[in-house]
């Protein structure tokens, strides 16, 4: 058997196992959380189904109505589908769909629904007080024209930002629900839950740990592969392989500890750094604009940065330790081989 071929493919195999663990977690995190309205038709020839226009989602291309359906084959699982044909009544407050089958209409979502993407129906929400930050592209509505529900009170306002305190905020936070609360909120382009923003930053050290564990495992496996190619002792290969497998187990548990808020994640790629930069720049700038530079979110960000640096340093030391161990192990192995070559007298 060709040792180099085995080394290369075993490395691919290790990466595939790691990637399977990562993809399981990423899929869980990137699944769009939705609230649904289940409807069935009552007549054999179908019926007109009416639902509030707040169930419609807007983007640059217009209004969209979505449902969730079970996919098949490589598109298995509960998926978001767009309903292409619907009409609005004369008051534009009711959407009408000609029902020929049952529908699970999406009435709210953790992010802009995308056809074909996985969805998870959320029926039970935790409630608690929260701060919602509304960003208006064309200026905030004047104070006398503001219409807010009783559970919301304004904490601060500038030309483009409105900060509200909500006594009955829901977790997980669904921006679509927050935007369709009233005629005032519907004019905003984005809304952020500051509690979820804090939770996001609190998760960053955990992500750094996951990355560190993955790189450590990869280093162990690489060392094992190199030792295998160079005909080093089986003990070294086995110990490296065992350590790498142990890091896979640790990786699984570390991944389970991470729970990112869905409302702050990008639509398609979880590694879209530009999206995070844009979102948090907007949040931080808005808070500064409101004169809230001492908001707890800033402290959380500072703490997360320090903790990430500490985790980075720790894993760098671990990696240096592994490499040093490899060098020592190699020297010991070679000296033993040399001793065994000396003929006994």
């Amino acid at each position: 058997m060709n040792k180099k071929v085995i080394a290369v493919f075993s490395l691919i195999l290790y990466l595939l196992v790691s990637v399977t663990l990562f993809s399981t977690k990423i899929q869980e995190e990137m699944t769009t959380l939705v609230k649904v309205d289940c409807r069935t038709f009552h007549r054999e020839d179908g019926s007109i189904m009416s639902l509030s226009s707040s169930s419609l989602f807007t983007d640059g291309e217009g209004l969209h109505l979505y449902e969730v359906r079970s996919g098949i084959r490589l598109q298995s699982g509960l998926r978001i589908e767009e309903i292409p044909e619907f009409s609005l009544n004369q008051m534009f407050d009711v959407a009408e769909v000609k029902g020929i089958r049952g529908y699970n209409f999406v009435t709210s979502a953790s992010r802009q629904p995308q056809p074909g993407k996985l969805a998870q129906v959320v029926s039970e929400f935790q409630t608690g007080s929260d701060l919602w930050l509304y960003c208006y592209p064309y200026g905030t509505p004047p104070e006398d024209a503001r219409e807010l529900p009783g559970s919301m009170s304004v904490l601060g306002q500038t030309d483009s930002v409105l900060l509200t305190e909500v006594t009955e905020g829901t977790f997980p936070f669904l921006p679509h629900t927050a935007l369709t609360k009233s005629a005032t909120t519907v004019e905003a382009r984005e809304v952020y839950s500051l509690t979820e923003a804090e939770i996001f930053w609190q998760q960053l050290p955990g992500i750094a740990i996951v990355l560190g564990i993955f790189l450590t495992g990869l280093l162990f496996w690489l060392c094992g592969c190199i030792a295998g190619c160079r005909d080093h002792s089986a003990l070294r290969i086995r110990s490296n392989a065992l350590a790498a497998l142990a890091t896979l187990v640790a990786l699984w548990f570390a991944l389970q500890a991470i729970d990112l808020p869905a409302s702050l994640l990008p639509n398609t790629n979880i590694f879209d750094i530009a999206h995070y930069r844009e979102e948090f720049t907007r949040i931080f700038d808005s808070l500064r604009e409101l004169g809230l530079s001492d908001h707890p979110l800033f402290t959380t960000v500072a703490q997360a940065r320090v903790q990430c640096r500490q985790v980075g340093c720790l894993f760098m030391l671990v990696c240096i330790g592994i490499l040093a161990g490899e060098v020592v192990g190699r020297i010991v192995c070679e000296s033993r081989t040399d001793e065994s070559r000396i003929p006994s007298r």
Binding site: F9, L16, V19, S23, I26, I72, S76, G116, N269
Partner: protein, 256 residues
């Protein structure tokens, strides 16, 4: 003479190029997703959702199980045909060769009816059981065990070795290439199966990666091309690592 050599080399190069074109197409176009150029399709397959990889692992486990059982069955059956003496041996071996020549589609319906009677339809056993008893492995092992001298087997028997011991301790180690060849061919056969899952399984969620890949309409062709690369990995490894054994094993099967 030199000119003849040049033309044959050129022809070989052109033919190699023609063979490589599809693989190059898969590799190059996997970077051109409908959403843009880059690693988007790789992200979709390897990171965005785990279903591709889970199907990959399921297919790998199924194919490995089928291959291992088929090697065991083929080794014992091959030993029987090669070394045992029993009435109707030649007729049975002839029937085995006839079954080997039969196209897969001929046996699909009888297998379906048998599996239905056994209540195994729509289970993973419906894929595994028929694939474990494919005659090609028995044929290769028979041919390869025929090369083992009878004297060695008789000596082993005198030393108290039973039939199982003779197969695993004497014949198998002497015919590694035959065993590896059977293992590879049966693995590849089950790894590439398409018709059997479509006939024996009703639930599309149980389909192995090969069928899912063949039956899913391409939302994004680049994603399917990356799936093709994923599907190609195990056969590529097997060929890269065992090409000598594969060639030797096939040569043994072809010897008169």
């Amino acid at each position: 003479m030199k000119q003849k050599s040049f033309y044959s080399n050129f022809l070989a190069l052109v033919l190699t190029g023609l063979c490589v074109i599809p693989y190059a197409y898969v590799l190059i176009n996997s970077f051109f997703s409908t959403t843009g150029t880059g690693l988007g399709a790789y992200y979709e397959v390897f990171l965005a959702e785990n279903q591709y990889l889970l199907r990959f692992w399921k297919s790998l486990a199924l194919s490995t199980c089928i291959a291992l059982v088929q090697v065991a069955v083929s080794a014992f059956a091959g030993y029987g045909f090669a070394k045992a003496k029993f009435p109707g041996k030649d007729l049975l071996f002839f029937l085995l060769m006839v079954m080997m020549i039969l196209p897969l589609q001929v046996t699909l319906v009888p297998n379906y009816l048998m599996l239905k009677e056994m209540g195994l339809l729509n289970t993973v056993y419906a894929l595994a059981l028929p694939a474990m008893f494919v005659p090609l492995g028995t044929f290769i092992m028979t041919r390869s065990f025929q090369s083992v001298p009878n004297e060695i087997i008789e000596a082993a028997r005198l030393d108290g070795c039973g039939a199982i011991g003779v197969v695993w301790r004497i014949c198998a180690p002497m015919n590694k290439s035959g065993l590896v060849c059977t293992l590879l061919l049966s693995f590849l056969d089950s790894w590439n199966m398409v018709e059997q899952p479509m006939v024996y399984l009703e639930d599309a969620a149980q389909y192995p990666l090969s069928v899912s890949l063949a039956t899913t309409p391409p939302g994004d062709p680049a994603v399917q091309l990356v799936c093709c690369i994923l599907v190609a990995l195990p056969p590529l490894f097997l060929f890269a690592n065992y090409k000598r054994e594969l060639v030797e094993g096939i040569a043994i099967g072809g010897e008169k």
